[in-house]
């Protein structure tokens, strides 16, 4: 458990360092995730300890969003001023995204079936 947490923090630290060094516009933990993914692919999977720790951490992933979510109170005025563009953009974009992704995937898979 302790070793697994240390490993996660080391990968995050490596990600943050790479982001700073190359002045990348990507969040450091995302690079850390990519590095860990690559390491897992090379190594052939996570150790049981790492899998268990990740499971524990991700099981309560929703909790981790709460402190930042409460920060919306700082933007109450913005939400009141711009609720219309925000609501329309969220609704339109969410359903358009589902439709486009599903249509492209369906087209491509049908196409492949015809080839084989």
């Amino acid at each position: 458990m302790l070793a697994a947490i240390t490993l996660l923090l080391l990968f995050q630290l490596a990600g943050e360092a790479i982001v700073l060094f190359f002045a990348l516009p990507v969040p450091g933990p995302v690079i850390g995730m990519g590095l860990l993914f690559a390491a897992l692919a090379l190594r052939g999977g996570p150790s049981p300890a790492l899998r268990g720790t990740a499971q524990n951490l991700l099981q309560h992933l929703s909790l981790l969003f709460v402190p930042a979510g409460v920060g919306v109170m700082l933007h109450a005025q913005r939400m009141a001023d711009e609720w219309l563009p925000i609501v329309v953009a969220l609704v339109a974009s969410t359903f358009l995204t589902i439709a486009v992704t599903a249509l492209v995937l369906r087209l491509l898979r049908v196409h492949e079936d015809e080839q084989t």
Binding site: P27, V66, A102
Partner: protein, 247 residues
């Protein structure tokens, strides 16, 4: 001391609120209460635990006149775990490696189309209806799982806490509406349904997809992970020029 009891209570609150303990404890309490309520509602997507906990905490802070910064001094210990949790997402993503290899081509093309649609359509619609630049930058990563979306918003110069709420709302929208949309499109393949929902509505959509079935859930989880990586890689290059072009 001849203070009235409610004044004393107020004094106790002021004293406790000054230490990180209160913000941290309140966060854990509110979240567990929200999870309990969500279970009572049969896991309905509208009774989202994050949304419920945020509403309760904002109401409490507003009622007691506690500034967000005071609350965050305690809550930051929870917030800090987002970093390692994002790194840990590599493990469920790795579990989908075989699926990814088998259908890599179609999945990646659909992912690219969906990922661009999610960000660009939100920004364009928002711009058309007169949203400010800071709002647009916070809106752009709304289909990506929260820890990554907040990181992207921060990098872009948006407002990460606004992004967090927009991400949750996007997740709820997809989870509630996807079934109706799929019925309309006559889309029955669970792999397609799961993948599209994961691209649009990240973890909340994935949780919904798992309710529908194991295969839909696995494809949704895969889509969520890939979309997080792709959006983080694309948006910081794409969005600033787009906003300049839109004026």
């Amino acid at each position: 001391m001849n203070a009235a009891p409610h004044q004393t209570l107020g004094e106790i609150w002021v004293y406790l609120a000054a230490s990180p303990l209160l913000g941290l404890t309140l966060t854990l309490l509110a979240y567990q209460g929200a999870v309990w309520l969500n279970r009572r509602c049969g896991g309905h997507p509208l009774a989202n635990p994050v949304l419920l906990a945020v509403v309760v905490l904002v109401a409490l802070l507003a009622a007691t006149g506690t500034p967000y910064q005071t609350y965050f001094d305690g809550a930051q210990f929870v917030h800090f775990l987002l970093g390692p949790a994002t790194v840990a997402l590599a493990i469920p993503l790795y579990a989908q490696l075989d699926r990814l290899k088998r259908m890599a081509g179609p999945l990646l093309v659909a992912l690219l189309a969906g990922s661009l649609t999610a960000a660009l359509s939100a920004v364009l619609v928002g711009k058309l209806l007169g949203a400010s630049d800071a709002t647009l930058l916070s809106l752009a990563p709304k289909s990506v799982t929260t820890p990554i979306a907040m990181g992207i918003a921060e990098r872009l110069g948006g407002l990460p806490s606004l992004t967090a709420v927009l991400v949750i709302l996007t997740g709820i929208l997809g989870a509630v509406g996807a079934q109706g949309l799929y019925a309309l499109m006559k889309c029955r393949d669970p792999a397609v349904r799961g993948f599209a929902l994961g691209v649009a509505s990240h973890g909340i959509g994935t949780a919904r997809a798992f309710q529908v079935g194991e295969q839909a859930g696995a494809f949704s989880a895969l889509a969520m992970g890939l979309n997080g990586l792709l959006t983080a890689a694309l948006l910081p290059w794409l969005l600033p020029p787009l906003l300049r072009w839109l004026g």
